[in-house]
């Protein structure tokens, strides 16, 4: 390891998502104002900025308004304003509308934009670079540099050119050490370094367990007569049963494109459940069929989102840095929006660090960071909706939604919640029932027109992954999938993984073994979250591996 080069900067940001880029931009803006020079590096594991970003997205511009007030003149890719909005409930054959006047204010998408968060990030990347931030796509941060005093001193980027067994090939290129006064972790939901930092500094000791959902999304080119640019729908109910949280979304973007997606909350209990197939089935609802028939699917992807909200936000600051964005978890679940809160958290955190840098500080703990970041706009965004997820978990989708509505109305009108602050009792890896106590689920075969299999879907994620590299999905104990997960839970990895990475294959004598097709991985992080044995750790593969999303 002696031949690793190193570089000293003021701040290294891990992840060029909305949180990371906003923090970088804000740090530079602050530095320009105060006249001190700060050097900022942003590392991004995707081959280009936005390549691993997957979001809805209906974007609330509050964050951007504050960060780049003249974003409209500067041509930020938020062009399609939401013009109509519907909140629906599906049964297997019918659809009902929630009456809009009954919906609390925050459910309205008025003033929001239908856009690609990936495209917005690419634009933010240009903004950051114009301010002098060095953004390096194609390089994943794989380790935190921690000194003997247990202080984070920066990060290391991954080696490239190791073979499957970890041996150096002729193309070997060692990673680089980035030494920084402060390290901001902006990896999004279930960040791999965030996970290490949270564990090392026990940042979650006073927080509820983080909760997650897996979102799967496709972009469709639809028949012009089915298209209503600016129209937004959120849908609860079928195909999920009432005990399983989640729902679908339909956003009519520009150019006859419709974004269809479906989220399954990862605290589902039936190990046979497959979020991928639930989504495929969702598209066969008569309402969806009507919309998509005659259209063509042009993109596919999947990504986990946080859904724990207020109660699950961990301590943000650790010695030498902080968590921002969905690595901490600022997603507003009932609104399914986290991009604006990611931007806001990046900015608020940047302000704290700018002040520290100006004071000549570094590699220390920013005091009271969580309270400071969670004050104001982020408080007003997350605190009122804090019971939505626990109510859904406890009472099911219908009753939980009604109770959430009541809770929000009471808070909106009387500033009072009858529920106080409810808590998340279990982590998502802890919620599966045993396979023998669960019904098997028979999903319909894909028709290749409206519904598809995993292989043809992953194909549309444009994955680039050199197969001759170490498997990036690490099993703590290689025997667990077959010895423990298979008999107990029918090895749920083969059902929850949306990309078909995990398989249980039988040899001629019927002996099962566990196969990992790592090159299919779309970096959604679900396995790291949902494995009941917590035996799978997602680590960043060689920089530039993984999906090459555009417009997602």
């Amino acid at each position: 390891m002696a031949d690793r080069e190193s570089m000293q900067v003021d701040v290294v940001v891990v992840g060029a998502g909305p949180a990371g880029l906003s923090a970088a931009i804000r740090l530079k803006q602050n530095a320009l104002k105060s006249g001190n020079d700060v050097s900022i590096v942003v590392l991004e594991k995707a081959a280009e900025i936005g390549g691993h970003i997957l979001s809805g997205a209906v974007i609330d511009p509050v964050g951007l308004n504050e960060l780049v007030p003249d974003w409209q003149q500067k041509g930020a890719p938020l062009a399609t304003q939401v013009t109509s909005d519907r909140f629906r409930y599906f049964t297997s054959s019918r659809a009902f509308d929630f009456p809009t006047p009954l919906l609390p204010k925050l459910f309205s998408n008025h003033g929001c934009y239908i856009a690609s968060l990936g495209d917005l990030c690419r634009w933010l990347g240009d903004e950051a670079e114009a301010l002098g931030v060095d953004v390096f796509p194609g390089f994943a941060a794989t380790e935190l540099l921690v000194d003997d005093m247990n202080v984070v001193k920066g990060v290391v980027t991954g080696d490239m050119g190791r073979d499957r067994n970890g041996e150096e090939t002729s193309g070997f290129t060692p990673g680089m050490e980035l030494h920084a006064r402060y390290t901001l972790i902006a990896e999004g939901a279930r960040g791999s370094l965030a996970k290490k930092a949270i564990a090392r500094y026990r940042l979650d000791r006073e927080a509820d367990p983080q909760k997650f959902g897996l979102g799967i999304k496709e972009i469709w080119q639809v028949a012009p007569e089915n298209h209503r640019e600016g129209h937004v729908e959120h849908i609860l109910g079928w195909p999920l049963d009432d005990a399983t949280g989640g729902g679908g979304f339909v956003y009519h973007a520009a150019g006859n494109q419709v974004i269809v997606g479906h989220v399954t909350h990862l605290n589902y209990t039936n190990p046979h459940l497959s979020p991928f197939d639930e989504f495929q089935r969702f598209k066969t609802h008569p309402e969806m069929r009507k919309l998509l028939e005659g259209g063509q699917r042009i993109a596919f992807g999947a990504r986990a989102m946080t859904s724990g909200g207020w109660q699950s936000v961990p301590e943000l600051a650790f010695p030498g840095g902080a968590l921002i964005g969905c690595s901490a978890g600022f997603m507003n679940l009932p609104r399914i929006k986290g991009s604006h809160t990611a931007i806001l958290s990046g900015m608020r955190t940047a302000d704290l660090f700018s002040a520290a840098l100006l004071d000549g500080r570094g590699n220390d703990v920013i005091e009271d960071a969580k309270n400071k970041v969670l004050a104001g706009a982020l408080h007003d965004e997350l605190h009122p909706v804090r019971n939505a997820k626990p109510l859904l978990s406890s009472f099911g989708t219908i009753a939980g939604t009604v109770l959430t509505g009541i809770d929000l109305w009471l808070q909106q009108l009387l500033k009072f919640s009858p529920f106080g602050t409810m808590h998340h009792k279990h982590a998502d890896n802890d919620t599966l029932h045993l396979a023998r106590n669960s019904t098997e689920i028979l999903y319909p075969k894909p028709d290749g027109v409206l519904t598809f299999d995993r292989a043809s879907s992953v194909y549309l994620a444009n994955i680039g992954h050199d197969e001759n590299q170490p498997v990036h999905l690490k099993l703590a104990d290689a025997s667990v999938p077959i010895r423990h997960n298979l008999p107990q839970y029918d090895e749920p990895a083969r059902f929850y993984c949306p990309a078909g990475v995990y398989e249980v294959v039988k040899d001629a004598s019927g002996m099962p073994s566990f196969r990992i097709n790592a090159a299919n991985c779309v970096h959604c992080k679900t396995c790291d979250i949902k494995d009941p044995a917590q035996n799978i750790t997602w680590t960043p593969p060689e920089g530039g591996s993984g999906p090459n999303y555009r417009g997602m």
Partner: protein
């Protein structure tokens, strides 16, 4: 020896290309772009010659939109010394590219122009040969091995009937094939250094070259989907299937 390597920005080879709804071409709107893989091989080869000491200056050039700067930065990170962008937002056809390169060759005076054998977007494979004709320099195409010998190059080329060994006096043109080398991984330190390397911007229109397209694209169509494969259980079944299929085994000895 001074080497000039032209590099083209094309739709990334990992992207599944899609024909535009109106059939006017392939969708390049919101698609990831990167360096034509054959050009990457050309840059790598030149960098190796630079490292071996047979090349003392390596210049890369790209003709295309402003965003082609990213492609040039990649080439600089791979090890080029300096980059030139000849900016044009129009479709520039191989002949026009060759003419621009001829003008640039007059200015830069390279001993060798090393190109990819073709670009993966149009697969034309014309720029190298056309440049050779315009400059009246010798050319070797589809190089699988290049060796510098005093004032000449010895090149092994991939030909239809095997491999040919040719010797070219300098200055010369060589187009490279897949077998030539495996381009290196770009390291972060080299990306950082590449930011400091010179990148000159020129306008294609200033070259006094006729850039007007001469080709008309009538239609673009996606290939018909491949019929699904069939799994056979035994050698006999395989033979039977092959026999019943459009005479695949015709002429076999009975």
């Amino acid at each position: 020896m001074k080497i000039l390597v032209p590099v083209k920005r094309v739709v990334d080879h990992k992207v599944n290309v899609r024909v535009r709804a109106d059939g006017s071409g392939v969708e390049t709107g919101n698609v990831k772009m990167s360096m034509n893989p054959f050009d990457e091989i050309a840059v790598e080869e030149a960098v190796r010659m630079r490292e071996a000491g047979t090349c003392d200056e390596l210049v890369v050039v790209s003709i295309g939109p402003k965003q082609a700067e990213d492609t040039l930065r990649t080439a600089l990170a791979l090890g080029a010394d300096k980059a030139i962008l000849i900016e044009s937002d129009e479709r520039v056809e191989p002949l026009a590219v060759a003419k621009l390169l001829k003008e640039l060759a007059a200015r830069e005076a390279p001993d060798l122009v090393l190109l990819g054998k073709q670009a993966i977007d149009d697969d034309a494979a014309q720029t190298g040969p056309m440049l050779s004709a315009l400059l009246d320099w010798p050319i070797s195409s589809f190089a699988a091995k290049i060796e510098a010998k005093d004032d000449a190059l010895e090149v092994i080329e991939e030909a239809d009937n095997g491999r040919e060994v040719v010797t070219l006096p300098l200055p010369a043109i060589v187009t490279v094939d897949l077998q030539l080398n495996q381009p290196r991984n770009v390291s972060l330190p080299s990306v950082i250094k590449a930011k400091q390397k010179p990148l000159e911007r020129l306008a294609a229109a200033d070259f006094g070259v006729d850039l007007a397209p001469r080709l008309e694209i009538l239609a673009t169509r996606a290939p018909d989907p491949r019929p699904e494969g069939k799994r056979v259980g035994s050698v006999d079944e395989l033979l039977a299937a092959l026999r019943s299929h459009a005479g695949l085994l015709e002429g076999e000895a009975r």
